[in-house]
Amino acid sequence: MKRIYNIMATAATALLLSLTSCSSSSDSPVVDELANISKFQEMTNDTHVIELYSHLGGLQQGYNEISIRIKDKTTGNYIKNASVTWQPLMHMNMMTHACPYSEVEKVTPSGTLYEGYIVFQMAQNATEYWDLQINYTIDGTDYTAKDVIDVPASTDRRVNSFTGTDGVKYIVAYAEPHHPKVAVNDIIVGIFKMQDMMHFPVADGYSLEIDPRMPSMGNHGSPNNVAATQTAPGELYIGKMSLTMTGYWKINLKLISPEGTVLKGESITDTVTESSLYFDFEF
């Protein structure tokens, strides 16, 4: 439980830092909770409307920060004191499985938003789809809402799901920055283990080496990258990612176990131009 709180804290802090630099000032009473996020879906049950928000205004394969609000259908008010959990589920042709996801937490005590993240390690397709069940308790009464959600494939490679050399299945997902810059970026990554089809806890104590490269420009790299590590168990991983120009970057990765062995990924050399574990994006 504590781990999840830590993840939440990190994610929330990172989100706040990157999205609303002014929200920490306590003397500003009016904070636009919906700044930088847009609503992409509503789920309804008999009593409530559940609004789903993200910075993209939608979901995509990979790591997604999702905010929700619960509106009382009769009063039209947003519920501020609910406790919320969620359960994403992939319905494949032959089976169902879950994915890594966080607890859902209130963003601010007085606000209406609840927030967490879900890592969709695969996209939907014509016959296979994700749905999301939201369970919440208000003043001791349990409610639930459930709907199919739209998780298209991402154009960038934002998530890797693989079996490491230790035989364990891992999921490595790119969380931030949403908008990379020509600068030293703080890169935030989630690393999860697949315990079983329904449980994907955070993998603790690993390290993720990053080597950004531009394949269209002689596969040149960038200096002063720092491997992503955790500051405490249960948290997302934070590292430094230097990008020296705009364009298409491939972020080559190596996942290192707590014991120091390489679980996945290769070092880039003249002959090895890409790692089997990577993210990519264009900006």
């Binding site: 810059k181 020509v182 600068a183 030293v184 531009m214 269209s216 420009m217 002689g218 040149h220 790299g221 960038s222 200096p223 002063n224 230097s242 990008l243 020296t244 120009m245 705009t246 364009g247 298409y248 264009e282 900006f283």
Partner: protein, 663 residues
Amino acid sequence: MKIHFIIAALISGLYSQAQEVSNDSLKPKELKEIIVIGKKVPLAEKQSKTLSSIDEYLQKSIKIGMIKRGAYAWEPIINSMPTERTLITIDGMRIFGACTDKMDPITSYVEVSNLSEATICSGQEGACYGSTIGGSVDLKRNQNKFDQQKWDISLNSGFESNNRQKIIGTSVTYADSLLYFDTDFMYRNAGDYKAGNDKEVLFSQFKKINFSGTSGLKLAANQLLEASVIYDKATNVGYPALPMDVSLAEALITSLKWQYVPKNSMVKDWETKVYFNTITHKMDDTHRPNVPIHMDMPGWSKTFGYYSKAKAVLGQHHFLANLNAFYNQSKAEMTMYPQNPNEAPMFMYTWPDVRTFYQGIFIEDDYVFNCHSGIKFTAAAGQHSNKVASEFGLESLQIFYPEMKAQKNRFLKSLAINYHLDKPRFSYGFGLGYGERAPSVSEGYGFYLYNSFDNFDQVGNPNLKNEKSLEGNAFIELKNDKASLKLSSSYFHINDYIIAKPNATLVPMTLGANGVKVYTAVSYAVIWNAGLTTTYKLTPELKWNAQLLYTYGKDAQDVNLPFISPLSYTAGLAFRKNSYSAELTLQGNATQTRYSPSYGEDRTPDYAVINLGVGYNFKWNPCSVGLRVGVENALDTYYTTYSDWNNIPRMGRNFYADIIFKL
């Protein structure tokens, strides 16, 4: 083509004088060298190749060399030091090139026909308009005088056979007692040149126009207001030694000057000028074959500035004070287009919008002991600051320097003292100097600037210390009515010498580059040169002259510095009688043995070339006509010099013909 022009004569006058201003008994002796390019009127009579480039004129000075990246826009080096360590001004105005690859030295934005002279100062004597280490060149434009009402119109035209360069220009000047104006227009268009043995050097073409206008208004008997403008536009300029050419190099240089010459005052001359110039430079690789990745590399440089300079005489003291400042914006970008057209272009700032502000003062006191000796003190101090104005650019550089701040302030000082004794048959002088300079924009803030000479990407370093130079110089001259012999030498001990060194941990950006160099400072470097100049009058009409130059340059680790000339020599015979002139010159270098492999240099073999030129002035009513024809590299030698970028061969045999009609 116009071969009949060339055959027509075999006389000459490759004749630019390294002339020192004659010293009358009350004036201080000028130690600086002045290359007289030619006043409007004497231009036709004095010079042989009247329409040669300004670079060709400048490199006749023993202090000046030229780094050549093509047929056009050579980079002057003074005392073996390139642009960062020198100060090149046009009428005292600071101008900064807009090209990260130094394809546009300031000298490329003026035409020889605009200029009357170039004042070359070695070392700290050149600190009048700002800080320098190696020295300075001030390019002085023609200045008209208030006079009886008079129009002067002339038409210049020239042709060079080797690169089929066509030159056409006009000059219109007007003066009366209250007003004058001076306009000058020049157009050049050249194809590729051919090195010795008829080997064509691809991408060495160029085309340029240049307009210069100056207008003066007499405000009072001793006050003058002068406005001036230079517009220069070069297009389709090939740089055979570089991987890219230039599609546009455009400069607008403007100034307004107020000059006051008090009568019966201690202050003899007070001149104040405000100026503005803007340069746009666009590199271009669209004509090159096999470009692995197409890129746009535009650069901009804008400079505002002023100076206020006064001369005063108090007893035996001759004072000069110059208060000057400039504000420069240098910005350059690189956008690379991947071969996959669906991929986003790659963009970076190679100069991150750097704003440089300098405010300084220069003071000189020339104390004349008596009619033949004196001592000169100069001192300068200035406040220098750089600020990275682009957030994008700052964050880019913070990849390398996480602690870097946007602004950096520096204080620059200079001090020099020179003694000289000048007797009719014998003179000597010696001096000491100390000077500092701030790193250039590229050295401090360059971001992945590709240097095709050593094949490294170079990254600036905002934490560099000021470069500090301690210099000594001396000369001795013997002369009589027929002959003169002058030996001069300069020595520079440069502390915190700024140079780029490889950093093995960095991966180059440029395709095929060897690595990345980061600007750093070696503890010190030493540059020493010694020159011998002799003249001998064989007959009143025939004069022999020769120059010999030895240069030495090493850093603290005994590594050779780049662009250090091997032993070089020039010898010439000049003939002048009535309207005829002729000159024969031999110019050569010994083998470059002390080259610097770590900066991309290799051994350059020795060479010698012969030039021959003749001139004839005649009256062809209503015009006076000056005709100059000649041949350069007469033996069509295939050669390259120590300062040819990537060993590009120099021009082979070239016949030229210049003609000036003057109304």
